[in-house]
């Protein structure tokens, strides 16, 4: 009935498992090494400091200053976090502490749909709704001249995209707090809000910080949606209403033309390496943060 006997099948299965496992375990290192070797060409000629802090980006004449892109990425990431972090925290507290369980049954599918909508569709929605809103209403209202395609537009779209990601983690964290801890605080005569403020938030703090850290890392690497609404202008943005450029957008926009100049190719791979490093760093730190806290 079978081609192989039991023992042979065991060997085949086992080998298959080990090979797959090794592939997966070495994936982050592979990515890092691969991108590093592609960036060596650039790193050979320029110091890391120059690359990161030089403002001039002229690939054709051999100037590779990543500063405008880094600044753009940092702006977009931080502003989007400023928008989504309080919204997520408030919502997570509301749905876990104030509503009945049925409410989560509405909330979970809503979160899942938000999480499932592809990046490109978010970008399209940004162009349809957010960009015109900023250029036609918000800008004039605040007396700012703006195209709409701006750091603010990108931050807003991005903040919506990371809401499901952060919110999911936060809800899990608040659900994991034992009911008895709440009961303990209430039995001392604390009000529900005092219990939340003094006890639950404190208990959940490391988890909350980690959730925000994971969200930050995710926002930093988000490509398509940001690319579509951020404006893609290589200039240091002076205000939220200025257009900007981000690292992922830089890579995505130039994938065709880079092949003609080897250093350009290398520069884009260096940008990818930077993204990888930021992502790994944040996830690493947040991970140890949670582990440490749980022990103590």
């Amino acid at each position: 009935m079978y081609l192989l006997n039991r023992k042979q099948r065991h060997v085949v299965n086992y080998t298959w498992m080990i090979i797959s496992l090794l592939l997966v375990a070495f994936l982050p290192f592979l990515l890092f090494i691969g991108l590093y070797f592609k960036s060596v060409l650039l790193l050979h000629d320029y110091s890391l400091f120059d690359l990161i802090f030089s403002k001039s980006w002229k690939p054709a004449s051999g100037q590779f200053g990543f500063y405008p892109f880094i600044v753009g990425s940092v702006w977009v990431t931080l502003v989007s976090m400023l928008i989504s972090a309080p919204i997520c925290l408030l919502t997570a507290i509301y749905v876990t502490q104030y509503t009945r369980k049925n409410f989560l049954r509405i909330m979970h599918p809503a979160i899942d749909i938000l999480a499932g909508i592809p990046s490109v569709v978010y970008g399209l929605w940004g162009i349809l709704v957010i960009v015109p809103f900023i250029s036609r209403y918000l800008g004039p209202w605040l007396d700012v001249k703006t195209m709409g395609y701006s750091i603010l537009a990108a931050s807003f779209v991005l903040s919506i995209m990371i809401i499901p990601f952060i919110l999911n983690i936060l809800i899990e964290i608040f659900k994991a707090i034992p009911m008895e801890l709440k009961e303990a605080a209430l039995s001392l005569g604390a009000t529900q809000w005092q219990t939340i403020k003094h006890v639950l938030l404190k208990k959940a703090l490391p988890g909350i910080i980690a959730a925000f850290g994971f969200g930050l890392a995710r926002a930093f690497g988000e490509t398509m949606a940001v690319l579509m609404v951020v404006g893609n202008v290589v200039k240091l943005p002076k205000s939220l209403f200025d257009p900007g450029y981000t690292l992922p957008a830089l890579i995505a926009n130039n994938y065709g033309e880079m092949l003609s100049i080897p250093k350009y190719d290398s520069a884009l791979m260096f940008a990818a390496l930077l993204l990888l490093a930021v992502s790994l760093f944040f996830n690493l730190v947040m991970h140890f943060f949670i582990v440490r806290y749980n022990k103590f």
Partner: protein
């Protein structure tokens, strides 16, 4: 409770309600604007034809090439990720069950990989492609997207498999099964619905991602024909159509976005019907 405390609690509760309904309202607005714009411009022609000459200047045709391309690419990547992912998830939960430390390291690595942005995979896939002298193609796209969905696939299967009771494992041992038999027979059968959920989740991720395929799958106005040919994908077709200055073409982008969103909604509906939600981060106090 003093008056100040009451006002404070009311204030924050109001903020919470506001935040919650803000999220629901945003979701409604997104869904509404995509459906409203998309339904207006969608047509039978769009779903059944490939782009004609001059399509991007408003001439006739459709996006069938992108729909089929995306389905092929996502299906290929999901299948590959499944073939690599299932054994890893099984290995963790059957063979390493006594080595908690090793398991933790692997789970940690997987979570790290999960967090890497898809554009990084795209760039990596692209340089690998160049290294091996490959062209942009369906195969290159599949390989890149596989790497990208692999951690999602493994971690979601892992979460399901770790709930298989130890007793079941012991019972299987006592019947004389060896470990790989237990893994592939007992565990997979026990968690089949969870495994399907993981597959659907990965499929949804794979079909929606643009940044990883931008470099590797290429783009073509023809139907996908073969692993080594470039292939069109829905996210990219939305992106390209939207970049066109012609309003009609932009309208088609809205219709394409509707198609993509519908595919993803249907997939997530299926996986929801199948079973429990999957939570990435579990934190125990």
């Amino acid at each position: 409770m003093t008056r100040g405390q009451k006002i404070e609690e009311k204030f924050f509760k109001a903020l919470m309600i506001l935040a919650t309904y803000f999220i629901l309202a945003i979701l409604a607005i997104i869904i509404y604007s995509i459906f409203e714009k998309g339904l207006r411009s969608i047509s039978w022609e769009m779903l059944t034809q490939v782009p004609q000459g001059g399509y991007y200047y408003g001439k006739g045709g459709g996006i069938l090439n992108a729909i089929l391309g995306s389905l092929a690419l996502a299906a290929g990547a999901t299948l590959l990720a499944f073939i690599i992912g299932l054994p890893v998830a099984l290995y963790i939960n059957v063979f390493l069950i006594r080595h908690k430390k090793v398991i933790n390291v692997i789970r940690f690595l997987l979570d790290l990989v999960w967090g890497i942005p898809s554009i990084v995979y795209g760039a990596f896939g692209f340089s690998l492609m160049i290294f091996f002298g490959l062209q942009t193609s369906l195969l290159a796209g599949i390989l890149t997207v596989t790497l990208f969905v692999l951690p999602i696939m493994i971690r979601s299967m892992d979460e399901i498999l770790r709930t298989v009771p130890i007793g079941l494992q012991e019972a299987a041992y006592s019947l004389g099964s060896n470990k790989s038999e237990i893994a592939f027979k007992v565990f997979t059968r026990q968690s089949i619905s969870g495994i399907i959920t993981a597959v659907l989740l990965s499929f949804g991720r794979a079909i929606g991602d643009a940044a990883a395929v931008l470099f590797t799958a290429g783009y073509t106005d023809h139907m996908p024909n073969g692993l080594l040919e470039p292939v069109a994908t829905l996210p990219l077709s939305i992106f390209f159509q939207l970049s066109s200055p012609v309003p009609e073409v932009q309208n088609r982008a809205y219709a394409s976005a509707l198609v993509l969103t519908l595919i993803i909604l249907i997939v997530s509906l299926f996986s929801r019907g199948l079973g429990k939600r999957y939570h990435k981060t579990k934190i125990n106090f």
